[in-house]
Structure formats: C-alpha cells, structure tokens
Amino acid sequence: MRLRPRKGPLVCQEVVELVTDYLEGAMSRAERRRFEAHLADCPHCTEYLAQMRATIRLTGRLEADDLTAEMSDDLGELFRRWRVEGDERPG
C-alpha cells in the first residue's frame, strides 16, 4: 500500500505518504536526503509537514477526563475487596 519510491526526485503525492516515516526517524540517510530535498523546493509539502506536526500536538491536547466520583467509589471498593482477598490468602 505504500508507494514504493522510484529513483529520482519525489513528487508531492509521494511525500505525503512518507511524512510519518520521516517524523519517526525510519528513513535511511539517502531517503531522508531525498525527502528533505523535496521540502526545500516545495512550500506546499513544507506546509503539509507543519500541519502533521500541528495535528500531533492538537491530538495530544485531548487529555484525560477526570475520574467521576462514581468511578472513584467503584475503584475504592475494588481495592478493599482485593485487600480482604489478600488477607484471606494463606501465608
């Protein structure tokens, strides 16, 4: 499913499929050079890469909801049951 890059310069449509490999540091040095050479000449792909980074940051802001009181109560009860179980355990 990945575009298997041909030799020669990358085109934009290939670049957008390689962004994650680039961000993950999963490229060989040659691949990386080719990728960066395209970016140097292409403001649109540079923008695209910046948008992927922004998306990652924005996704990171979908932080955890706090525990509801009900969930805390349930967990407290679960814990106390476990302690009783532990006390009944031989040894």
Partner: protein, 204 residues
C-alpha cells in the same frame, strides 16, 4: 530509541506503585485516575460498547492488583498495565477476529488534490500558526474526538497511545504486540485522517 531523561511523572508513578504495594488505597485511586481515560479509550477499540470497556478496565485493575507482586519494573508500570488491558480487551472483544486489514487502503491525501504528475493541484492552506488554544475553544476538540472515534480500531488504539498518551513507538509495539513497521503504517493512516479533519474544521 534514544536516552530519556527521568521525567517527573515517571518518578511520581514509581512512588505511587511503591505506595500501592504497601497497601495504600489512596495510591491505588491516584494511579487509576492517571490511567483511566487511556484505559477506557484503548479498551473501546477492542470491544463493542462503553459498558464492556468499563468492565474490561475493572477486570484489568483486579488482574493488576493480583499480579502486582510479579511486576518486576523492567517495563514501565504503564506499559505493563496497558499490556494486561489489551489481553483482557482482546478476550472480551472480538476485534482481533474482525480486525481490519493493516491500514485502510486510502491515501493520506485525496488523489483529487494532486495533478497528473503528482504535484499539489489544491495545496494545503496555511493555518498552522493559528492559536491552538483558540482552535480548541472554537470546537476543534469535539471535531478531533469525533474523528478519533471514526478511525478503524487499530489505528485508533495506536494514535491514542502515541499522540494522546505519549507512549513511544517501541512501547506501543510492546503493548499491542505489533511490529514496528505495522505500527508506523497504522500511525500514518491515523494521523493523516486526523490532519484532514483539522483541515476541514479550519477551512469550513
């Protein structure tokens, strides 16, 4: 993976685990609070309903408490915990059986946006410098949550762990038992979908 600085959250976590081992209920509730949202989100990617996901989370805590003596601290507590969760969720759900092929086939960006030579015909507009606070306040949070819910389950699991929860790629491979290559392909699909959702939100 490179060297990681000891991070204060990890130190606090180790301390909570030690207190839990000493039998302190407050430490347990604090640990559960830290991980509950990720656990619920992750469990939901394997099972059909929120109710089942909640059961999986409860079961996981029971298993964690029972298995605490066996936790050797080689992995972080979080990855140990999440690996247990994934096991439970897989047996509760059927997602493995009905799991989608790795990565849906679609491209990262719709083909119609490129010309015949593969260059941008309809390039991305500039929005990355818009204030992220303002975007979130304007409703992007809801848009992103919805886009996340609509992702195929494995993509969703990976992006939750990587980008919402901040696990490393290596940790995610351990928790979900997938290869580094698969992890990357699925992450790519997921992030590409989410970027498109942000773009649509910003431009509407």
């Amino acid at each position: 993976m490179g060297f990681r600085r000891p991070d204060p959250a990890a130190v606090a976590e180790t301390e909570l685990v030690a207190r839990l081992r000493a039998g302190e209920e407050a430490a347990f509730v604090a640990l559960a609070g830290r991980h509950q949202a990720t656990m619920l989100r992750l469990a939901s990617t394997f099972v059909p309903s929120t109710a089942v996901a909640e059961e999986v989370v409860q079961d996981t805590w029971v298993a964690v408490l029972r298995g605490l003596d066996g936790f050797d601290g080689r992995a972080s507590f979080k990855t140990w915990l999440l690996a247990i969760l994934v096991n439970r969720a897989k047996s509760a759900g059927m997602s493995e059986a009905r799991s989608l092929p790795v990565g849906d086939a679609g491209p990262a960006v719709d083909r119609s946006r490129f010309d015949a030579a593969g260059a941008w015909a309809s390039p991305p507009r500039h929005w990355v410098e818009e204030s992220e606070d303002r975007l979130m306040a304007r409703g992007l949070r809801e848009t992103l949550e919805l886009a996340l819910k609509r992702l195929p389950s494995r993509q969703r699991a990976i992006v939750i762990l990587r980008d919402v929860d901040g696990l490393s790629g290596e940790e995610v491979c351990g928790v979900l038992r997938i290869s580094a290559g698969n992890q990357r392909v699925l992450l790519h699909r997921a992030r590409s979908h989410l970027r498109a959702a942000v773009e649509e939100f910003v431009e509407r």
